[in-house]
């Protein structure tokens, strides 16, 4: 075990206790609206101890941790039952983007707040008519008196209700289309021109939101890159998530799986040979998910980009959705019953996992990406209906 991992493990043992006990294993996808206040306080705890941004370069207050160390950190966090990280969008997506493309002023202004666990970010990409076709962005930004004025709407914005800022991809060049003419802006949420409305999902929880912009503003200094760079920055941001957190996510999956096994033992469905086959296949899938992530990470550590990375999203989301179905079948007759009038953890898993194969790029879009980028097959026609050669 690396020094850093060891140190963090001890820190978790000594600090993730007391009032934070109730957060154990909570706030995972499907449950991200649990204990909002306490979770933000927990982030400040992590920040004060220097555990946010460990992978950032030391000049920005990070520890310059290696990929192995970051993986170890995430695994320790998950194995101690740490709650879903309210600050992960700022820490693992926006901060590396600011470090790579931002101005010195932006680095000085925004990195400390993220590092301290005091300022939270959400991602303003999707719109009602820009889902799978993400570049069809209609939200407008225009530069007036040295500030950007934003009008439009974002949707499926995770954790907007707990966030202080949103990074917004908006259309700045009049008459531009698709990936052209976009800007990437850093916008404060607490202002008169912004309204946030939660979206209640079929799981009864509400971690996604709509964010409405009606003359909201940010300074001209809060643009990353220039006019027309928005798409490039937006895509680069998504590339910073190199999969180090997926191993932590898999430990959450492993907990869910274990809970289903325990239930099957307790209620006798473990005697059903078909359930046993499905449990075994689910277990094999979980292991293979881990092996694949490690393979991708090992390659990334050596500087290779490998094609199997493209399958990560569709594989875990499909596996997780099946786990939800398996959970219900293991529950059997009890699956339909609400105890205390509320969904239990496995019922929530079943319902929320229907969104896994949709958000962050649907399974259908993932198959397009795999076919086109990993297999070099012809690209989908765009707009005009002509087929482009791959």
């Amino acid at each position: 075990m690396s020094d850093l991992r060891n140190k963090f493990s001890k820190w978790m043992e000594n600090n993730f206790c007391g009032e934070y006990e109730c957060l154990r294993g909570r706030a995972t996808p499907g449950d991200e609206d649990a204990f909002p206040g306490l979770r933000l306080k927990w982030e400040r705890e992590m920040g004060a101890a220097g555990w946010i941004g460990i992978g950032w370069p030391t000049e920005f207050g990070g520890k310059g941790a290696t990929l192995d160390e970051i993986v170890g950190f995430n695994e320790e966090y998950a194995s101690h039952g740490g709650p879903g990280r309210a600050g992960h969008i700022g820490e693992t997506l926006l901060a590396p983007t600011i470090i790579a493309f931002g101005t010195d002023q932006q680095k000085a202004r925004y990195l400390p707040g993220i590092k301290a666990g005091k300022e939270f970010w959400c991602q303003g990409y999707s719109e009602p008519n820009a889902g799978s076709d993400l570049s069809n962005i209609k939200t407008k930004a225009s530069l007036e008196n040295n500030q950007w004025v934003i009008n439009g709407q974002k949707i499926w914005t995770s954790l907007a209700m707990d966030s202080d800022y949103i990074f917004v991809v908006a259309r700045a060049a009049e008459g531009s289309k698709g990936r052209q003419g976009l800007v990437f802006l850093l916008v404060k949420l607490d202002q008169p021109g912004i309204e946030i409305r939660p979206i209640k999902q079929m799981s009864g929880t509400a971690e996604f939101n709509e964010v409405f912009f009606d003359g909201a503003v940010c300074s001209n200094e809060d643009i990353i890159g220039g006019v027309g760079d928005g798409w490039k920055i937006a895509m680069a941001l998504l590339g910073f998530e190199r999969g180090a957190s997926t191993l932590g996510q898999q430990m959450t999956f492993a907990d869910e799986f274990r809970q289903i096994v325990d239930l099957a033992k307790a209620n006798g469905s473990a005697k059903n040979p078909l359930i046993r086959q499905r449990i075994a296949k689910s277990y094999a899938g979980l292991k293979i998910m881990r092996f694949t992530a490690l393979r991708t990470l090992e390659a990334a550590e050596k500087g290779d980009t490998t094609k199997e990375g493209y399958i990560s999203k569709i594989f875990w989301s499909s596996w997780h959705r099946e786990l939800g179905e398996l959970a219900m079948d293991v529950m059997g007759k009890e699956a339909e019953i609400l105890k205390n009038g509320e969904y239990n953890k496995l019922q929530k898993l079943f319902l929320f996992s229907r969104s896994d194969t949709i958000y962050g790029g649907t399974n259908q879009i993932q198959r397009n990406i795999i076919a086109e980028r990993a297999l070099g097959m012809p690209k989908e026609p765009r707009g005009g209906g002509t087929v482009m050669k791959g």
């Binding site: 046993r276 292991k287 293979i288 092996f291 290779d304 569709i314 397009n368 076919a371 012809p378 087929v387």
Partner: protein
Amino acid sequence: MAYPFSSDHEMIREVLSDFLQNWYENGKGPERIYQSGKSFDENIWSRFAEDLGMAGVAISEDFGGGGLDDLGRVVVMEELGASLCAIPFLTTGGVVVDIISKIAKNQFKEEYLQKIAKGKIKGIFCPGHLSEEKKCINSANADTADFILISRLKNKIIEVVCLKVGTPGLEINSKKTIDPTRSFSDVDWSQVSDRDFLPIGTAEINFFTDIISQSQISLAAECVGGAQKCLDMTLEYTSQRVQFGRPIASFQAIKHRCADMFILIETARSAVYAAAVATKDKKTESSLIAKAYATEAFFKVAGDAIQLHGGIGFTWEYPLHLFFKRSRANRSMFGMPSEDYKLLADNIFGDKP
């Protein structure tokens, strides 16, 4: 050079890939075997063993082998799978080499391993300790073997003995099989006189757990190689076949099926590589998973490849049926996937219903 391979591994992959694809010749290689009525090609085996030194890829360098680890065999098996090359490496270069290396006395070791490495002799292993009967049903490559290793239970210790083919009373009856690229035979040694068995060593029962793991990994690697070849053929075909005025590879129905094939192949690949590099405590489980998953993946991918090739896919002339048949045959080796998953479930639940 991609994780987890070293430059040594990559080198043998390159050499083997050229050599075997040359032999494969768009399916003509396996077809020639089929027409010849023999179950394998002596010539390709001796070149594979002698010229390329691959039969002994896992034999220690002290005995004239390549001295490579499980990953070395993974590379060889992937390439053999991609060419459906009908040579008995899985048995001779795999389980037989492992048993001799680990339990035989030096003299036997020296003689047999050196001969195997040079391609002079081929062997199979019959796990006789698993049954009261002195026979082994559907043993792969038995009809091409020069000697047979047999395990038998003696006071809770397993004794391995060697029997030369041609020993009076030993019967090897080869069978006609759906998959013409790998032979299966029944081996019966019940009529062999006791004094004809040459004892080569003894082992604890759990010794065979490791032996089985290695075979599972090799079989799974062969499946990955075969499945990859099926996908490659499909990508090539669909990019050239034009219907409705466009290559059919441009249709989402085709793209999505190919993407699913890729997902299966890459996850199977992860499972195989992970099992090959697994530490001792994780070897048994990861090999079982690799074998169960990869054999199912190959079968699915080979079937998909036929579907995406349209009419030509189900002809005898086109080689896809050979991959499909091999993929089905592999499901029957070392236990069916459903039996593997049953074992896995028993471990997960810690019971045995």
